[in-house]
Amino acid sequence: MEERPENAVDTFEKMSLELKEDSLKITESTLRDLPDPSAAAAELEQQRLLFSPPADTTVNEELEETALSNVNKTAFYLEEAGVGLSRQEMQKIFLALRQLVEQEKPQQCRLWGKILGTESNYIVAETPHEEEVEQELSTEEQTEEEMENVDEEKDPLPRSVYTRPPVAPKEAAGTGANKFVYYVCNKPGQAWVRLPSVSPAQIAVARQINRFFTGRLDSVVLSYPPFPGNEANYLRAQIARISAGTQISPFDFYQLIEKESDEENEALLNNYEINADFEGISASEMVKDMANWVHHAYHILPQGRCTWVNLAANLDTEEEDEEANEPEPEVGPPILTAVSHDAEMFDCPPWSSWLSSTLTPHYALAVLRSVLWPGAYACAHAKEFVNIYIGRGLKCVGEEYSPPLPPPPQEEYPIGSEVTEELDPQVEEEQALSLEGQQEASEGTVESEEDDEDEDDD
């Protein structure tokens, strides 16, 4: 409009033509993108493998028992109880457990539960321990105190008198807290990772800390007291604690195995087996009376193990007061103790119960929920029961919890007269001291030490 060309209409027509041509131009370049194998494609492949047919395609004519527990049945019970995961998720987990059974071939395999983390979650499967050499997956701390090179002649450096307190040994695989082996994965379809066995030190520290799980097995657990291990160890310790506190079954479902009384082996734990004559208890009874439920997991003692070990006996002490320092053996409730004996916390019973359906009570399940470990549930119906944990993996600590404080800084050296700075004596004091020395010397006592001191005090 500023230029005022003569053929305004022609120019306008040209511009309009160019505009229309632009919209018809092919903008693709001759370079073609390669398909990007993204993480999503890899994940889809994993999911597809879940559905692959079983390796052993021979159809069993007889109804043999399989190692895989019926997760579908578990899913049904949990849904009726109003807890648990969606049916589709449980079905996927079922297929993933099937993969685990095919890979590891355990005697039994049970879904233990799901632990939620901040970045991703863990699905946990429980299998009884098999007789095989266990591979240590976690790094054990091996630190030896190094002997310092000392000038033995003059001025020896102060020797540290700190002796590391004896560490309780891990329980043997297949007993106590290590009775079961746990496998975890983040999502059904991913490879199952075997968790290392748990040590008493890890349980002891896990009892004092309260940290969320992140979802990565190798992440560091930042806490005070420092946790001996990474998240895989922390997860295993929490699983051990949760199992010890919340694995319950109807009374008389399991019975103790009679063992020969052996005085030396008092420390051995009683074993239990399924009671073939179990009759089943009605759901309403199970809901009302907590004595109808018993713990079938071993209680973990304050030491961090299920059987107590006398650490003082291992030390070669020559002290005479060995007997006075003898620690008292720790005792916990024996296996198959009734749930009604569980201690109350926060003025509330530790378990809360309800019937799954009030409208059709005849077929209802009895459901128990743990208040101490939010997320632990047990359901029972007729002759069957289910235990599951779905939660964050943390105990209810109450409002008055505060994390333990670090100890005061250690002393670098013993405070004594050799290292404390003293004021040099005043002239008058020195004179008074030397006067005394002369007096005593004149009295006949040899006070050569004082003279030496005076000389050394320069």
């Binding site: 648990g84 939620l116 926060f346």
Partner: protein
């Protein structure tokens, strides 16, 4: 969580542990319709359940004309017979804060024993906290602190906050950032400048507080469920609150499943 899409939406959030048996779902669907007619609600939402010692409280929320301001809460034990929760007053909050401790008991008429503290005897005399009051205050508090909606799901026209009928959902990339999720409560944040710097800031969408302003920073856990193609946000401050959103669709909702106690130790745990 909308009553009409209950079965569909519950599928997503049960990953956090709270399931509903089929019996409860059909009871909810029926009773919500009854509630809609009785109380003249526009929508009835399932808010969640609070596990008490002896019972389970099922909580529902009815919304009126203004989605933010007209909210009423109801509770039930069997998902069929609903009772209105009392509306909150400041004195009620004080009484509950002073006295209610420990898990929920399960009886709405339970009176919490008064806690006597030094210097508080004059003020404390006569203040009682019943479980019903505690329930009302807790539910309101959870909504205040950890309710979540995606950005754009609600619009503010004039003074009215309403559902945005043309909400297409967040895209998959948008859903990854906590900037695109907001608290569904009266906005408290004074930091308006950060929000206004957004390229696509719009006063009718951005009238709520954004989740990324929450302290402490790690108090939300955002996970992507690739089977269901859904984002799940779970709160670490009130353990048990789960929010889901399917990207590029308008489906979203949040539900609570827990024991109704705030996680006051959050700062130590992250």
């Amino acid at each position: 969580m909308d009553a009409d899409l209950l079965t569909y939406s519950l599928n997503f959030v049960t990953g956090q542990g709270g399931a509903y048996s089929t019996e409860k779902i059909i009871a909810l669907k029926t009773s919500f319709e009854i509630l809609k007619q009785k109380y003249k609600f526009q929508r009835v939402l399932l808010w969640g359940k609070i596990m008490a010692m002896k019972n389970i409280y099922y909580i529902a929320q009815g919304r009126g004309q203004d989605e933010l301001a007209d909210r009423k809460y109801l509770y039930s034990f069997d998902c069929m017979n609903w009772f209105l929760l009392p509306s909150i007053t400041d004195s009620m909050i004080q009484q509950v804060a002073a006295n209610a401790r420990g898990p929920f008991r399960g009886e709405p008429s339970f009176v919490y024993p008064a806690r006597t503290r030094h210097g508080d005897e004059d003020k404390g005399a006569g203040l009682v906290a019943t479980e019903e009051m505690r329930l009302a205050v807790t539910v309101k508090q959870i909504d205040e602190e950890v309710s979540v909606v995606p950005r754009g799901a609600f619009i503010k026209t004039g003074d009215l906050v309403q559902l945005n009928r043309s909400f297409g959902g967040l895209s998959k990339a948008e859903g990854k950032s906590l900037d695109n999720y907001m608290h569904f409560r009266e906005p408290k944040s004074i930091k308006k400048e950060g929000v206004q710097k957004r390229g696509d800031w719009c006063p009718s969408f951005d009238f709520l507080d954004v989740l990324s302003d929450d302290v402490p920073k790690g108090s939300w856990s955002l996970q992507w469920e690739s089977d269901d193609k859904v984002y799940i946000l779970s709160s670490l401050l009130w353990l048990g609150l789960a929010f889901y959103h399917v990207p590029t669709t308008p489906h979203h909702g949040y539900i609570y499943f827990g024991d109704g106690q705030k996680n006051v130790h959050l700062a130590h745990m992250i």
